[in-house]
Amino acid sequence: MSRRLVGSAAATLVMVLAAGCGGGSQADGKIELSLGLFSDFGYDKLIEEYMASHSNIKIEQRKVKMEQHNTQLATQLAGGRGAADIVALEEGVVSQFRASKDKFVNLAEYGAKDLKDQWAGWKWNQGTADGGEFVLGLGTDMGSLGLCYRADLFAAAGLPTDRTEVAKLWPTWADYAKVADQFAAKTPNVKFVDTGRNVYKAILDQTEEGYFAKDDSYIAEKNDKVKTAFDTAAALGTKGQTGALEPFSQDWNVALKQGSFATTTCPAWALALIKAGAGDAAAGKWDVTTAPGGGGNWGGSFLAVPKQGKHPKEAYELAKWLTAPEQQKRIFKETGNLPSQPKVYQDAEVQATVNEYFNKAPVGQIFATSAESLKPTYRGTKDSKVGPVFATALTRVEQGKQSGAEAWTQALKEATDAAK
């Protein structure tokens, strides 16, 4: 009796487990593909069209927050099951997943290398390994840098409000800091910038090497550019010119709504976040212009195919279609996510795009120009482990807990540990 009980319990368990990790082919004979995404890739309509034209394919989107997405994906890759057929890899973590590329399908096997010329060279390179022999992911959007500012708050501080005039105020980040001083003198109750962390991140994204040299060696402590970026941001924090906000958090949203800061760094994808946070009441108040220090890239993603999926070929076909020029153009028009393909962002229609919410700013032109001049930063394998250490260090400065120098010393120590 006891053995039978154990037996039946085990059988039940096996059934439960089998049901849990099912998926893939369905009873109706359709191939089921899942897409693991975060935030808004703008794929809803595209997917419906794809299913309409491919009657044998059924697509399911899974959207979660980015951090959760990355963690989930890591555990799914480790466990060997559960990952979506196509997963999005964000630029900040793609190098980390590249180190585990044996868990992914080499898209070159399905002819991905023929598509190479669609993308900006650096974007293609970020998604590949082994000198381009291993194609990990196909590029979706990119995060070309701009700077967003509240024109009404600038007017109150006696600063110019026209976006070309504003751009002339800050050719460099040092000039930007000077504008911050002027702004603070006139309007002490409004913070000049939301957070020093984003300033730091933006400056760093304008250099070719940050924490890691192109040979993946750790160079943060001897790279002057990291120190300069940190000092610039820390100085803003020490002077109380930042809102000391966690970027893109609930507090950040509230501050946007209350109009308690006047500028923020704007990668193309951030426009949607600002609009959502500030709401309709602030329509036309926010504007976007060129960032100090030239072009840079922050964010943007890739579509990759984990090896554990059952239909790698169909998954590749879908990823290829979703990242194709025609689709990237449509996504830009619908969501504002900037295409990572020169032919698309140079397209007359894309260049002519204006954003109504941001005081009819010619976003197509601003971001495409920034994209042309950008020097992509090399992301080391452990970039995503080191970066947050410096971010929290800047928060300590903004909270008044440490001086810039103290925060820097502690950050270097922690970063060296994280880079081990």
Partner: protein, 325 residues
């Protein structure tokens, strides 16, 4: 635990010659002897699969250099444990965990006791009040944490707003260690006080009323009766809540995690300088942000040991205190 049954003791005396023993008798004898084990077996089976196996496997992982995605990178012995004992971040997390545990559990259980005593006095609409105290526990922890995170906002939080009325400057609830511990503890207390109060209430209602009656005749006041009759009578229940609160309190994760606005981003360290990073948060950071599964497993095992030690201390202390009456 030893289970002695009269039948089993008597059995050998009867069956001097087992071969002659009737089959029917032997069956019922076996039935009496083994059925209890059989009935509790499913629990241990499930516990073995979902409790013991992960526990042992975690210990195994903690002895290796183990990367989350790429798996086993080689046996390293106790190297992870050696590193852990010299890791200031671990001790910081341990301090935070114990501090948060004391700050939330002690007032929580005392408040629950008081609340239960009030509910036990036969209020009008008692069902309403009793259901009411359980409400905070029914609401999802994520929702509670989000609301409290807003309450304790630095710039636009309602707590700072109210403190402003009594002339206290705004507090940066996430920057100061003590302030953050206070805020997180408030969340925990909000969620669990009612739950524990209901458990105490159930126990209080089974205390014989004649004990109170005779105490009243002897001239005892309410306060005296509460400490001399009620509390000693519900001793086992208090023990139970102390042990479960200990286990829950030391495994605190969701509340501090969601209190940290960085949790949604990629830097969930429980404050800019780990002001409220608990052991579980530290384990999460190591395992799921830095992908160092070996070290995370080591933290997990140390947490297990800490819970065990604190639970034993608690058990002994509570038994002694409650035993006085």
């Amino acid at each position: 635990m030893t289970v002695t049954r009269p039948e089993t003791e008597a059995a050998p005396a009867v069956s001097v010659s087992p071969s002659k023993e009737p089959k029917r008798f032997r069956l019922s004898h076996w039935d009496a002897r083994y059925t209890p084990y059989l009935i509790i077996a499913p629990f241990f089976l499930v516990f073995g699969i979902f409790g013991l196996y992960p526990l042992v496997y975690t210990a195994w992982v903690s002895l290796h250099d183990w990367q989350l995605i790429d798996g086993n990178q080689g046996f390293v012995g106790v190297a992870n444990y050696v590193e852990l004992f010299g890791d200031a971040k671990f001790w910081n997390a341990l301090f935070n965990t114990l501090s948060l545990f004391v700050l939330s559990t002690v007032p929580q259980l005392l408040a629950a006791l008081g609340l239960a005593a009030l509910l036990d006095r036969g209020l009008r609409g008692s069902a309403f009040w009793r259901a009411g105290v359980l409400l905070p526990n029914v609401i999802s922890v994520a929702a509670v944490a989000l609301v409290f995170a807003q309450f304790f906002g630095r710039d636009f939080g309602i707590v700072n707003f109210l403190l402003g009325f009594v002339g206290i400057d705004p507090i940066d609830w996430r920057a100061e260690t003590w302030a953050s511990h206070l805020a997180v503890s408030t969340m925990v207390m909000w969620r669990w006080t009612g739950y524990n109060a209901l458990i105490y209430l159930a126990a209080m209602q089974s205390v014989p009323k004649d004990m109170y009656e005779s105490a009243t005749l002897d001239g005892a006041g309410r306060w005296r009766m509460f400490w001399s009759i009620t509390v000693p009578s519900i001793k086992p229940t208090i023990l139970f809540t102390v042990v479960t609160s200990t286990i829950g309190g030391l495994q605190l994760f969701a509340e501090p995690a969601l209190f940290d606005p960085g949790f949604a981003a990629n830097n969930s360290t429980g404050g800019s300088d780990r002001q409220f990073q608990t052991l579980v948060l530290y384990m999460y950071e190591k395992g799921f942000r830095l992908f160092d599964a070996g070290y995370a497993a080591t933290v997990a095992w140390m947490l297990f040991v800490v819970v065990l030690i604190v639970a034993i201390i608690n058990f002994a202390l509570t038994r002694r205190i409650a035993g006085k009456g």
